[in-house]
Amino acid sequence: MACVTMAAAEPKLSLVERLFADHRGALQTFLLRRVRAKADVADLAQEVYLRMLRVSDQDAIRNPVHYLYTVANNLVKEHAVIERRRASSIDIDEAPAHEQLKMLPAFDGDLDAAQRGLRLGTVLQQLRPKCRAAMELRFARDLSYREIAMHLGVSPQMAKKYVAQGLSHCRRRMAQLG
């Protein structure tokens, strides 16, 4: 596995920003489309894990999250290549074609995004008001924790805690809905 080199002085970007800037494309598409196909994501995680374990130069993991996304992204690209090759041959183990067709979004990303949005909306409603607001302010409105804290009348620490709790809850619910 090629060693991932990291620029020494990376400009400060939020993770999500970086997620989009650096890893736009394959990983995003993969993860967002396959939120439902839990096995896929588990397999991906497994493979990323194995590759991480094989890294001899620990310094390459100076920014573990960046590293994680990079490895995952590469894997997804490789996966796509394999899939394309496989698609040209007939695999009788695959689900019947009409089953597969059901999985395909009618209008590519848009419908998917709308559906996900709805689902996320439902899950968000289960959070207590401040927790929900903290998450929304952070990710939908890009406010800093200091700003969120001011709006909600809590400490920045508490704002962070709300966001973490909210993320965790939504993640679990989304996984269960999957």
Partner: protein, 354 residues
Amino acid sequence: MNSNDEQIRAAIADQASEWFVAHEEGPMDARDSAALAAWFMTSPVHIEEFLGVSVVARGLKEIRTNPEYSLEAILARASDDEARPVQGLWPRVIEAVRKTPSGRWFPATMAMTVVVGLGLLFTWNLRPTGRPAGTAGIATRYFETRHGEQLTQRLADNSVLHLNTDSAVSVRYSKSERLVTLISGQAEFEVAHEANRVFRVHAGYAEVIDIGTEFDVRLEPGSTVVTVVEGRVAVGAQNSNPNQAVRSIELAANQQIRVADGALPAAPVAADAGRTTSWLHRQIAFDHEPLERVAAEYNRYTSKPFVIATQALRTLRISGVFATDDTDAFIAFLRSLKGVRVEMTENRILVSGD
């Protein structure tokens, strides 16, 4: 996925979310980065949950254009003051049956929330005080949990009360103060700051005055333990002479104080607030603590108590994080220890040495 797997997953999702928030906030220092890398390398499930959490954050970015997520709409929802029970992270069936000492009940209000599919069910009652209804700006509410139960309740001022097993509190809000009395057990408070209405907790020998924060109070035989998770509180000793000047001491996050009858220690001690409040996640966490203590802690939740038969085992030091409602896992853990036998009898779990 059985409930045990689900709990472990949930705990990992919590950790993943904390890491996500820490990372996303800005560059991490070398130590945190190394810790995160180590965390990733502990298990593929950690990686999976981290990716899952990223997807949630991404999803929120995606719906930003929806008017429901305008700044105004978000803030309007946040200030929604309607009193309804808060759903805990791991809700379970809770049926709080309340009895006053006199055994008489006047349920002025009863609300019931059923979260479909989760089976969370509890009721609350508003008990009128002796005052006429016209001046009933002041009402006392009682919350109580039975053995093994936990309860999370949002209060009228948006503060959140978490009640651990075998615990009871009364909550009395007036115009000038918010007074909570911990009658038994253990509670954690996330206090909504109000500049002109102090939040006060009476608990056995201690009185805690909040200065905008989150803290845990536990009644133990002969003393009261206060642990601050976040922010600052002032703790004073309550004693029998109300005229005596009360000294108080300020506690910051991760500090703890134990107050016995009228005796307030000179200074707080350092404590791991995360461990003290691990019960919020239905977990108990121990770092190198004697088995005797661990068993006593477990017995707060189990129907069959653990009894340590062999003297030498009492001081055996153990570390770990256990689910409070998964006795089997804890038994399996004990059995994995060298020279430890666990035997189930009809009314106890007997732990002995070879």
